[in-house]
């Protein structure tokens, strides 16, 4: 099989940039100053108040972000999918143009809006809207909304219009047609939309760091904090690595759940 040759660069790439770093994370988690030890690993794992609670908060925020994105994106995608292709293309462009701007730049703009612009507007410059769950959620939804719209729009616009006509023909009103035909058929789009929003939302660092303003902390900031210990010298690699391992496992589990739903769909099963 000569074709295998073409896979070699990819395999090398995978080993260099995925397997080796993972190995280092595990290595640093159980290695303090060149000595093998499980103490840091255990203390991090068992620190419920500092670590698990923040992780739980992060999961809740990620779930909320995903849910809000889904609720906002579905109607938008649905309306877009029923529009003329040219009009839909233009409107979805409006949603995507902000994406061409740098992510950090966008987040800093929101910081400026929440910290200075809105308080100035309502005439109370002493008030700050940053550092709250609401503000972090707002910016997360703003950042990730396009990633929910796109897969939904793709799936919805591929649904054969004659299926909707068939449903209407068989006696389903528009609402029933939506719940019995459109929604079940759009499940693959929902699943990939959720994956594309939930995973980056749970691991996000920039948004809670900037918008959280040091008051509202999420798991991403926690890892950052561990590596940059307050002294500014060398961070605690063992703690940071252990935290990272926990996050990787979380993401893995959520991906597996999503894959399960997707598989179920492919074999033709009913999700709802």
């Amino acid at each position: 099989m000569k074709r295998k040759v073409f896979a070699y660069p990819y395999i090398v790439w995978m080993i260099l940039f995925i397997v080796v770093p993972m190995f280092f994370i595990f290595y640093y988690a159980v290695n303090v100053g060149g000595q093998f030890t499980l103490t840091k690993f255990w203390s991090t794992l068992t620190d419920v108040k500092n670590n698990w609670l923040v992780l739980w908060n992060s999961i809740v925020i990620a779930l909320k972000t995903t849910a809000i994105c889904l609720i906002i994106a579905y109607p938008i995608a649905y309306i877009l999918s029923n529009m003329k292709k040219s009009v839909a293309g233009f409107i979805s462009l409006l949603f995507f143009v902000p994406m061409w701007m740098n992510f950090i730049l966008r987040t800093y703009s929101w910081y400026a809006i929440l910290e200075y612009f809105i308080p100035g507007l309502i005439g109370k410059p002493e008030v700050s809207f940053t550092g709250t769950e609401f503000s972090v959620l707002l910016v997360l939804v703003y950042d990730f909304l396009p990633f929910m719209i796109l897969p939904l729009y793709n799936t919805l616009s591929k649904i054969d219009k004659s299926l909707i006509e068939a449903s209407r023909d068989l006696g389903a009103n528009p609402v029933k047609t939506f719940f019995r035909v459109v929604l079940p058929l759009s499940v693959p789009g929902i699943v990939s939309g959720i994956t594309m929003v939930f995973v980056p939302a749970i691991t996000t660092f920039t948004v809670p760091f900037i918008i959280g303003n040091g008051v509202f902390t999420l798991y991403g900031s926690k890892i950052d904090e561990a590596f940059h210990q307050a002294t500014g010298v060398v961070g605690d690699y063992a703690v940071g690595s252990t935290l990272s391992i926990i996050l990787v496992i979380c993401v893995l589990i959520s991906t597996l759940i999503m894959n399960y739903f997707d598989k179920d769909k492919e074999s033709g099963g009913q999700v709802l």
Binding site: D160, S162, L163, E165, A166, S167, R168, D169, L170, G171, A172, N173, K176, R180, V181, P184, L185, K265, G268, Q270
Partner: protein, 458 residues
């Protein structure tokens, strides 16, 4: 009988962006009949079906189903069900749930659903297929599921939109027979859309032939076949020889310089007509005994019969015969009186609005200038009516003419082809000895003396 009319369409017109898809269609469909809407693609047959189903709202006109006006009644509230062209089966449901879709919406008891769906599966010969997924079925099986899904709701009318199009020939023939069997068994009215004339002739009680949004003829299959009303119907339904002739008096027609007895009457004296003679009605006889004789120019074996082209003094007769004739052989042609079908002449002419520019000596049709004579009495920019005889329209290569258009349809009229060329604003009718492919790009030239102008105000 009034009560017999299940569906009534009155003056249905449908416009799409200024072009007419249906032009003032009047039609009624009787309870329990198998009616076929037949015509070439783009003739409006599918639009008409979708208007009955409620997916398309007519620009004007009334749809009555069972005496009730359907204006504003959405598809899900109509007592009709549709079998879609590509079946439109739900991929997220199995066969059983696809068929049960309509009944579940009506909250029918589970026992009834099970009983009726299984009865339907039996009717369409798919017993035991309930648990299968749609993508595990062949095209023919999907077709049956689509039919079962519609029929299980016991509609008053079943609408079928070219349902056999995607099937191969053998399966198609089987389904034709089966559909007809189901229709008889259930006594449901079927409205069937197709462009396949053979399919229409095989299955229908009534055929409605359509062209360009206008009904050409309504009748039983035998009537449509034997007594086509115009050259289009004759040409579309089977092969035919169409010859210009003159109806001398009742039962006497003159064509090709000879007078023939026929069975038609009521056209008046010395009226120009078109004569239709089906290829299978013509007999090949000994040339010495025949009034028309000619030379065989081609013979093609068609399975059951030979298709023989006989050249008789410049006109090629198409004859279907089970007897073989060799190419080059001299044969005679005999036409029995009952083989001659007379149609009223449809005289096509080009009548356009033209912008007249006497200062340039030009008139503008379709935004293209034509040199014309006798413009003195007009003023610049005046709109006049111009008439051009179809035989005077010269068809040339597109690069040789300023006015170009695409061929919309081409029809053999016995001695020549008549075809329609669609230009920017107008459809031109032209005659030619050559066949033109539909969609072909052609150029149009008209000589100055062939443009006949008349004042619009007169």
């Amino acid at each position: 009988m009034e009560s017999n009319k299940l569906i009534e369409l009155k003056g249905i017109t449908k416009e799409y962006d200024g072009s007419l898809a249906l032009d003032n269609v009047d039609l009624y469909i009787r309870d329990g009949e198998f009616l076929t809407l037949l015509g070439p693609s783009g003739c409006g047959k599918t639009t008409l079906l979708r208007i009955i189903a409620g997916f398309v709202t007519p620009t004007s006109g009334t749809v009555l189903i069972d005496g009730k006006d359907m204006k504003g009644v959405p598809p899900h509230k109509r007592q009709v069900n549709t079998v879609f062209q590509k079946y439109a089966l739900f991929p997220h449901l199995n066969v059983f749930d696809n068929i049960a879709f309509g009944m579940k919406l009506k909250h029918a008891p589970k026992k009834d659903i099970e009983r009726d769906v299984n009865a339907m599966l039996k009717l369409v010969n798919l017993e035991g297929y309930g648990k299968r997924w749609i993508d595990q079925l062949s095209g023919g099986q999907q077709q049956r599921v689509a039919i079962a899904r519609a029929l299980v709701n016991k509609p008053q009318v079943l609408l079928l939109d070219e349902p056999l199009d995607a099937l191969d020939l053998k399966l198609r023939k089987e389904m034709q027979v089966e559909l007809k069997r189901m229709q008889r068994q259930l006594g449901i009215t079927f409205v069937f859309v197709t462009h396949d004339q053979e399919e229409a002739l095989t299955m229908s009680d009534t055929i409605v032939v359509m062209k360009d949004g206008v009904i050409q003829q309504i009748g039983r299959p035998t009537d449509i076949y034997n007594e086509p009303k115009n050259p289009f119907v004759a040409d579309f339904i089977g092969e035919s020889n169409i010859i210009p002739g003159v109806m001398l008096e009742d039962y006497k027609v003159r064509m090709k310089g000879m007078t023939f007895p026929c069975v038609d009457a009521g056209f008046g004296k010395n009226v120009e007509v078109d004569v239709v003679i089906r290829p299978e009605d013509i007999d090949i006889v000994d040339p010495k005994e025949a009034r028309i004789a000619g030379k065989v120019v081609s013979v093609v074996f068609m399975g059951v019969h030979y298709e023989i082209d006989v050249d008789c003094g410049g006109y090629e007769w198409v004859v279907h015969s089970t007897d073989y004739a060799a190419v080059g052989q001299q044969v005679g042609i005999s036409i029995p009186p009952d083989a001659i079908h007379i149609m009223k002449k449809t005289r096509a002419k080009n009548l356009f609005d033209a912008e007249v520019w006497p200062s340039e000596g030009m008139i503008y049709i379709d935004n293209v200038g034509f040199a014309a004579n006798g413009l003195e009495e007009y003023e610049n920019k005046e709109i006049a009516l111009v008439e051009i005889a179809p035989e005077k329209v010269r068809i040339v290569a597109p690069q040789d003419a300023k006015l170009t258009g695409t061929v919309k349809e081409c029809m053999f009229l016995g001695t020549h082809y008549q075809f329609t060329v669609s230009c920017e604003e107008n459809d031109w009718i032209a005659h030619s000895d050559e066949y033109m492919e539909e969609g072909e790009e052609v150029g149009i030239l008209v000589d100055a003396e062939d443009l006949v102008l008349s004042d619009k105000e007169d």
